[in-house]
Subunit: 250 residues, 2 copies
DNA sequence: CGACTAGTTGAGGCCAGTCAATGTTGGTGG
DNA sequence: CCACCAACATTGACTGGCCTCAACTAGTCG
């Protein structure tokens, strides 16, 4: 109950901050918040906006796309958050990413023209689809937009590569610390508190994302709390000692 | 001695296969072998070729670029192979990738205009630099090339993401199996034997790449040999039972 | 030859996985 | 309003896989 109210509050405060028209308007704020539209002049921005023809609503648990789905578009998240899940053979699955409003998902489909993972809403969502052929077309005319698109793709690489370093060299406590600091930074970049936020994932999903078991994640939360580094109550997390948290990873 | 002769042989046989002009010529074969130039018509191909102005030679151990180097170009590997290494703070480092001739390296620099890892030659190399601003420019005019470029970037993402799955969910034996099968496939795609090849990395580098210690890698090699799955002699690997190897992961 | 690097193998310890029991939360219907 | 249920979370005990430390071998180069 409290957590939900908190989310509401956050959402409202963001809307205020970026000062966008509350509903139905063009998704300017979604885009300017994203890397795709940064630095575009008004004319280019207008072109980008006109790529958006509809808005997709998802309920918690719904899939935006599934493994093997034909790749048609990138999706800008306007409201809510989702996870992307990779399926290993034998049903073994792993959370590949966590995406919040302002993020762009669907990049995994470009390589093979079919999505390689499944995107599942962690809460009710609204996303704007951008047909990829039209994005590519736009990239032909706008130097800046092309640059942004390349940067977006490249950043996705960097992110994934950073994760391999985390998974390959760090212990459970370090991994969780990195995860929390990443969340903190991303919330902060969106105008929210970097010290207090609500997790949208279960312990199991966090563990899957970090290459750990859910029990281990739970234990690490408890240990951090004992050490006074943070405070946890279910999915509500308060970071008390960011310095200590940052000192953990090597 | 034998291994080196083997490499020589392999190299010559490839040259034969793709039928390129043996030396000094334009790097057509390098490009057509790569994803960047696939499907281009002769005119476009010519444009790509003209992007190449020089050839860089590296000796084993030399760095093609270092962490923090200004990002200027992507590099097509004509001869040899290299590793890319990420540096965690506190000097901890991790091998991020292994790249052989026909591959393109340097993508890690796009996101922040500076390289995020270091590329080090594992043997003597020859690479062709492609100034990135000129690549971007070309991407403006050629739809097909733009598509290839996006695909290249996206594939890099997929590769990294696949690695996180390996590192997050698999045991030491499975990781090594995946690694060997990946090598096998890549050699095979270049016209070499998928069953017999020479590793260009030390046990320590393989371990770093897989998130394991060098002793563990060594032990896994020994175990596989005991089981009759493969045969190892130093860096020369012969895959005897690919079925068993493929059955391991998943 | 000696110094060095790469690789193999063994012994022991620790971190995280596994199994299992219990506690907590949120939603549903009597 | 409360009982009930399912999903989520916590905690403990035990196990095992991988890391760590260490000794030894093989090949390389000045």
């Amino acid at each position: 109950m409290l957590t939900h109210a908190n989310a509401q509050l956050q959402r409202r405060s963001l809307q205020h901050e970026v000062g966008h028209s509350p509903v139905r308007g063009c998704p300017v704020w979604t885009l300017t918040g994203s890397s795709l539209a940064s630095g575009l002049d008004p004319e280019e921005l207008s072109l980008v906006e006109h790529l958006v023809s509809k808005r997709i609503r998802l309920r918690r648990g719904d899939a935006l796309y599934r493994v093997g789905s034909a790749f048609e578009a990138l999706y800008a998240i306007r409201v809510g958050s989702c996870k992307t899940v990779l399926l290993g053979r034998s049903g073994h699955e792993q959370v590949a990413g966590y995406h919040m409003f302002g993020d762009i998902v669907g990049i995994d489909g470009i390589a093979s023209n079919a999505h390689e993972c499944q995107a599942t809403a962690l809460e009710d969502m609204e996303v704007y689809p951008f047909a990829f052929d039209r994005l590519e077309n736009l990239a032909r005319f706008s130097d800046r937009f092309r640059y942004n698109l390349h940067k977006l793709l490249s950043q996705e690489c960097s992110r994934a590569q950073g994760r391999t370093l985390v998974m390959g060299t760090m212990g459970a406590d370090q991994r969780l610390a990195v995860f929390l600091l990443d969340l903190s930074e991303r919330y902060s970049a969106r105008g929210f508190s970097p010290c207090e936020f609500v997790l949208r994932m279960t312990r199991g999903e966090i563990g899957s994302y970090l290459g750990l078991e859910l029990e281990t994640v739970s234990r690490m939360f408890s240990r951090f709390q004992e050490q006074g580094v943070l405070q946890v109550q279910g999915r509500l997390v308060k970071l008390l000692d960011q310095v200590a948290l940052r000192a953990l990873p090597g």
